[in-house]
């Protein structure tokens, strides 16, 4: 039986940790807030990524919606009960076959679009599409079509760059630690809510629970099958509790909770680099119009809360007396990219009040305001990227949307152009619109 080496093994192999240190808790570096006037003490040039998983299969066709032209004609033909009227859409521009508009619920995203901060990658999918939530989600999270993956694309990024001792480098928010954040060596940590990272009896290193917890951090000595990394994760739990002590995040509800938790962790500078936010509920087999509207509204307000500190225009506050959390630190904003994905789009035609599992869908990337020209900083090129998937004709509509963008080229772009990663050899795929290094042509540029 093989197993992947734990961080402990790696550290041992490197001779970094020895003797009594094995029993020491991981103490993350004290989180000192940093802002525009401060230099990031960990890595001044480190860029951040927040990935939002619109889990369940987001209806891409009702997110970036055909607005005019032949694609609108086909859309109106096949969408009997789930058709969105043109009047509720915000125009995005021309694509092959007509124009598209943004679902009206995504008003903050549209506001950012108008600031030239949003790139929409159309028709994102992978070869040999799978219609299962679980199989398809694993492929999206791993970037490894046709395999039964044991690691995620962000986890392998963490493997390549390494996590310095004490860094809370990759964070999952919502549900369980996602495959995306599991590497072969390194692993992200799950921090669902800051109120839940603390031990019930107080500060981790002084409270009795923390002391007792520490007891089992010495379990490495036992090499039995599952327990072999028991001590490792016990130490990490203690480390998370310690490093997040005193941190709070406003929790106004919905996706905004996760986004403000992410903002707090990023601002506190615990070494956070990649955050994975689970936003579920998109499996709209029925009652789609109202459910999808609610979901997109919630997502939009999460993004609004992250950037502006408001939700639905109302200031988000925290503490007693209540203090508005305010806009995001501009320095942090200048280094943060938000990216959405979903394991699949939905069927072109509806099934009554909903839609069944489909294939390709759009991805949203939201970046900072344009950096100073000549600064050499990476620039997310706004606008619509790649072709809109073919819908067929009114007389013969397609059944499913065929992908126009290989997701691996998007990942490769984000890794190499945004996260300063060397990239992944397996992501270098060829195809129209893909450069020799596997990146999507024109998605990123340099200021």
């Amino acid at each position: 039986m093989s197993r992947t080496p734990s961080r402990r093994d790696v550290l041992k192999g490197a001779g970094v940790v020895a003797g009594l240190q094995l029993l020491s808790p991981v103490i993350f570096r004290a989180g000192e807030a940093w802002g525009a006037t401060q230099v990031d003490p960990l890595a001044a040039d480190r860029y951040r990524l927040i990935v939002i998983d619109m889990h369940g299969g987001n209806d891409g066709l009702n997110t970036v919606v055909p607005m005019s032209g032949s694609i609108r004609d086909v859309y109106e033909k096949v969408r009997v009960t789930t058709e969105l009227p043109v009047s509720g859409l915000n125009p995005l521009g021309a694509v092959n076959g007509g124009t598209v508009g943004l679902h009206g619920a995504l008003s903050t995203v549209y506001d950012l679009w108008n600031q030239n901060r949003v790139a929409i990658v159309q028709g994102a999918d992978y070869p040999s599409h799978n219609y299962s939530h679980f199989v398809s989600d694993d492929i999206w999270q791993s970037g490894l079509p046709g395999q039964r993956p044991g690691s995620g694309w962000l986890g392998r990024h963490l493997d390549r760059t390494g996590i310095d001792d004490g860094e809370l480098r990759g964070i999952g928010i919502g549900g369980r630690l996602p495959l995306a954040l599991r590497g072969e060596i390194e692993m992200g940590e799950q921090v669902n809510a800051l109120s839940e990272t603390q031990f019930a009896d107080g500060a981790a290193t002084t409270g009795s629970a923390g002391k007792r917890h520490l007891a089992f951090a010495g379990y490495d000595a036992d090499t039995r099958a599952v327990r072999d990394f028991y001590g490792d994760y016990c130490r990490t739990a203690l480390g998370v509790a310690t490093s997040t002590t005193g941190l709070t995040a406003a929790q106004p509800g919905g996706v905004a909770n996760a986004m403000l938790t992410a903002r707090t962790l990023l601002t506190a500078n615990l070494g956070c680099e990649v955050v994975f936010v689970l936003a579920g509920g998109y499996d709209t087999h029925d009652n789609q119009l109202s459910r999808h509207n609610t979901l997109l509204t919630d997502l939009d307000r999460g993004i609004e809360a992250f950037y502006y500190g408001t939700k639905g225009g109302v200031p988000v506050t925290t503490g007693n007396p209540a203090v508005p959390v305010g806009p995001v630190d501009p320095h942090l904003a200048s280094r943060t990219l938000i990216m959405t994905f979903s394991e699949f789009g939905r069927r072109i035609g509806d099934n009554g009040t909903g839609t069944d599992h489909g294939a390709a869908g759009p991805m949203f990337l939201i970046g900072p305001p344009a950096p100073a020209a000549g600064s050499g900083a990476p620039v997310l090129n706004p606008g619509l990227h790649r072709d809109h998937p073919d819908l067929g004709t009114v007389t013969l509509p397609k059944d499913n949307l065929a992908g126009t963008t290989d997701i691996r080229s998007v990942y490769q772009s984000v890794l190499t152009r945004w996260l300063a990663d060397e990239g992944e050899a397996g992501f270098v795929v060829s195809g129209t619109g893909i450069d020799g290094d596997g990146t999507l042509t024109g998605l990123f540029g340099t200021a």
């Binding site: 007792r212 007891a215 099958a225 599952v226 739990a237 087999h285 099934n351």
Partner: protein, 457 residues
């Protein structure tokens, strides 16, 4: 076979009965192992105990609409107190397999009714269970079956029926076309305003369907076979060669270990093969479970099963006789106090009737994370607090001393303590920071419930 050791009994109960108590160990250690296993199965003719004191409350909850917490508390307490813990553990297993959540339309009553349907068949026929759940009210809501009609075919249930509930995809033996055809055959089921399930012939697709090579349907109007066409779909799924293996694989994952395989035939697992062979002929769950629990791969070997949060929570409550569903709240400190176990379980990532999605909860090492760990400690502290305050019925007789460690081990229903666990309890007792006997007793309990021996069996 051979006489059951303390480790045998602790593992058997730990994996299949929400944990052992000292009473279980006293009763079964030294008996023939096969006799212990056989004794876990409810007597014939008593598949569903009807005389339990909590039964009226369960029936009452079948008409509940919104109080999810009440249903969750009831089930946890049933898990703790049932005289048939294997039956309840199987009910839990099928809930994780046929994961149905409290989301959208299903109300608590629907879920409670489904819960009883599962319990009534949990050790019976998998085929019967599958048939019943396919037209179960909560399931029809959760997977959109109630919206599935001939002019608006909804594939949601059909896909999960094949992918998650029966045939699986390791390897996959069905196609997209099969799913679409199966969805048509499943049309026509509705949930009426009084929450009963009915077949509406006007909503049923009357075309002929070919699913995995078998042709069904095409019956004339008002033909009685329309209303049982769903059973034909289920039986087609049962006829696929992967189904017995996939269900057996799920059982092995829940009760023993996660087999390292990505193809159940190309990379076979000995225990999965054995359980599948027992399950397939008559879909007899009892036969399959007996093979599983008596198999050498189950009985011996290193600890490999990471217990789920619900199992750990119920075990500790069972050992400490802490009521999981007290009328006034365990510590009588406010209206929400009686929901503390649920809140802690949320932090651990698992509450009944709230699977993250139809795929159910993650398994194995996925439970070993920093967040779930902190949640476990909260639950341990809460349960031990409750043990100290809930009516003070629990006068702990054991001295807080190293010399009594093995008695403590039996007290919490474990078969043995690892070296590190022993060291840590000894280390704690050498410097407990208190002279209060009860505080020290609580400290020992906490350490044992936080130990690897408790979580991994």
């Amino acid at each position: 076979m051979t006489a059951a050791t303390a480790n045998d009994v602790a593992r058997l109960f730990g994996r299949a009965c929400f944990g052992a108590t000292k009473t279980d160990l006293d009763l079964w250690v030294g008996k023939e192992y096969a006799d212990v296993v056989n004794a876990l199965f409810p007597p014939a003719g008593l598949p569903v105990p009807g005389a339990l004191v909590d039964e009226p409350r369960r029936v009452q909850l079948e008409t509940a609409t919104s109080d999810l917490l009440a249903g969750q508390r009831w089930w946890l307490e049933r898990m703790r107190t049932t005289p048939f813990p294997l039956l309840e553990r199987m009910t839990w297993f099928w809930h994780t397999h046929f994961a149905t959540g409290y989301a959208g339309n299903p109300n608590v009553g629907d879920l409670m009714k489904q819960n009883q349907t599962i319990r009534a068949n949990a050790l019976g026929s998998f085929r019967t269970l599958l048939h019943k759940l396919t037209v179960d009210g909560a399931m029809l809501y959760y997977l959109s079956g109630y919206q599935n009609r001939r002019n608006a075919v909804n594939e949601n249930y059909a896909r999960e029926l094949f992918e998650l509930f029966t045939a699986g995809v390791i390897p996959q033996r069905f196609t997209e076309t099969d799913i679409r055809q199966a969805a048509k055959a499943l049309t026509g089921w509705v949930v009426k305003a009084d929450r009963t399930v009915a077949f509406d012939t006007n909503r049923h697709d009357r075309t002929v369907k070919t699913i995995c090579g078998t042709t069904i349907g095409g019956y004339p109007a008002n033909d009685a076979r329309e209303a049982t066409e769903y059973q034909e779909v289920c039986d087609i799924a049962l006829g696929l060669d992967t189904t017995a293996h996939f269900v057996a694989y799920k059982m092995v994952c829940s009760f023993a270990y996660i087999p390292e395989t990505t193809d159940l035939f190309a990379e076979p697992d000995e225990l999965v093969d054995a359980v599948a062979a027992a399950l397939r002929p008559a879909w007899d769950i009892t036969a399959a479970m007996k093979v599983l629990l008596m198999h050498p791969r189950f009985r011996s070997g290193t600890p490999a099963l990471v217990r789920q949060p619900v199992e750990e929570a119920v075990h500790l409550a069972k050992v400490l006789t802490v009521n999981m569903d007290p009328v006034e709240g365990i510590q009588n400190t406010g209206a929400s106090a009686h929901n503390q176990p649920i809140f802690a379980l949320r932090r651990m990532g698992q509450t009944p009737f709230q699977p993250p999605n139809v795929g159910g909860w993650p398994e194995g090492k996925a439970w070993l994370t920093s967040t779930t760990t902190i949640g476990r400690y909260s639950l341990g502290q809460y349960t031990i607090n409750a043990y100290n305050t809930q009516g003070r019925v629990n006068t702990n007789p054991l001295p807080a001393s190293t010399a009594a460690l093995d008695v403590w081990r039996a007290y919490v229903g474990l078969g043995s303590l690892g070296g590190v666990t022993q060291q840590q309890v000894q280390s704690y007792l050498s410097n407990p920071g208190t002279s209060d006997e009860r505080t020290k007793q609580n400290g020992i309990l906490f350490l044992l419930a936080a130990s690897p021996d408790w979580q991994v069996m």
